[in-house]
Subunit: 273 residues, 2 copies
Amino acid sequence: MGSGAYAGLFPLADVYAARDVDGKTFGEELERIGYKGEPRGTPTVGAYFEAHIEQGPILEAEKRTIGIVTGAQGQRWFEITLTGMEAHAGPTPMARRRDALVGAAEIVRTVNRIGHEFQPDACATVGMMQVHPNSRNVIPGRVFLTVDFRHPVDARLAAMDAALRAEAAAIADKCRLELELKQILDFKATPFDAGCVAAVRAGAERHGYSHRDIISGAGHDAVYVAKIAPAGMIFVPCEDGISHNEIENATLDDLAAGCQVLLHAVLDKAGAR
Amino acid sequence: MGSGAYAGLFPLADVYAARDVDGKTFGEELERIGYKGEPRGTPTVGAYFEAHIEQGPILEAEKRTIGIVTGAQGQRWFEITLTGMEAHAGPTPMARRRDALVGAAEIVRTVNRIGHEFQPDACATVGMMQVHPNSRNVIPGRVFLTVDFRHPVDARLAAMDAALRAEAAAIADKCRLELELKQILDFKATPFDAGCVAAVRAGAERHGYSHRDIISGAGHDAVYVAKIAPAGMIFVPCEDGISHNEIENATLDDLAAGCQVLLHAVLDKAGAR
């Protein structure tokens, strides 16, 4: 939230009003601990660099030390509800069914196929599914599911979006289901500044670290700051791509290499000024 | 439970020990209300008839008054767990995923296809699905689902079972998932006694009621009693196939017709003795 508010993406009032699970607001808690300052006017940042574990499996699998992050994926999130007709699984003939889960399965398949079709770099995931009434001898009458699409090129992401809408409608039609499809997030792809990317590359090459260009799939402070200043990122490998988890792990050597590249990228950009 | 215990399918001790959601046992509650009698030795039943709403949509859709029930479907129930690898939906490339929901969707599709392939009379349903961790930006690591197969011919049901096992294994293999498949119910198909079926048919024809042969998809007392005595059933239409629900509905005329057929079937069998 800090970097998003700083970059002007989130209104300050919304950030202060955000509540945790206990109902406490972020603004009141900042005040309570003495950290609620005053906005300082327009930010002036020459360049912003951020070093991070990859949170994915690519660098580890390819045995590269440094990921030169060229930008962050755009994201579009959707919520889909399919409604058919709940009925007894025994006496209801196949031909008369309006089984919402059969339609939902086709959508999962379509989302996965779209992800594979829009390679390189597309990601497509159905992460949540809720089946109603979720009883073993009742034909599901309603299914809710979520779709998470990511791509570093906005036009490709828009094409994934269009493919989903067209195919979901066709599936609902074929399975005689009602379809409700809502887009709940539209985050544009963020290419990083060419000069910052070059500075990271130069840092990796100066030390002879193996490297590759990479896209950030997750959100980062640098992605928000990139809206108001030149920004870049350095990734290092992490074990099995696991993050936000107690077993998250990276080697000391890789972390040290990431710090070296960070230092030299900052010096590079500072010298250029 | 009463007819199942009477027919010797359920041990009496198991029935008495069954508990409701409040933890009360069936045996203690029978005793409390003065209904716990003593078993009377081997049952002697000349013939057993049961009249019932169809609990399905066929008679209503075809505008037939009487369903001549020729038997009850066999049932096989399965529980399937697919295990892959939970991972962040952003930085995890499509090609490296082990998405349990993608595999589960293929199983839903396969179950539905098997149901259509084994027509007439097959039913195949995935009624429950639980996705773990069920978060919109996490690739599902584990999915639990149930399969309900029904068919009036045991050999066909066995072939449906074999098809499921083979295809589920192939899907798990293709999607790089671990598969656990457990069969939790195996209830044989129960053809009703030819003499009882003929008596129901004669009753319907004597009154000129429109009729058709039909298979019972749900369980009934007659299905248990059929294990120890000649049994038959009469179905009448119900609105939209809905049952076990406050909106369950059947017309007075159809119910009266069902009673007429029941009466004449009983008289027929009694006269035959």
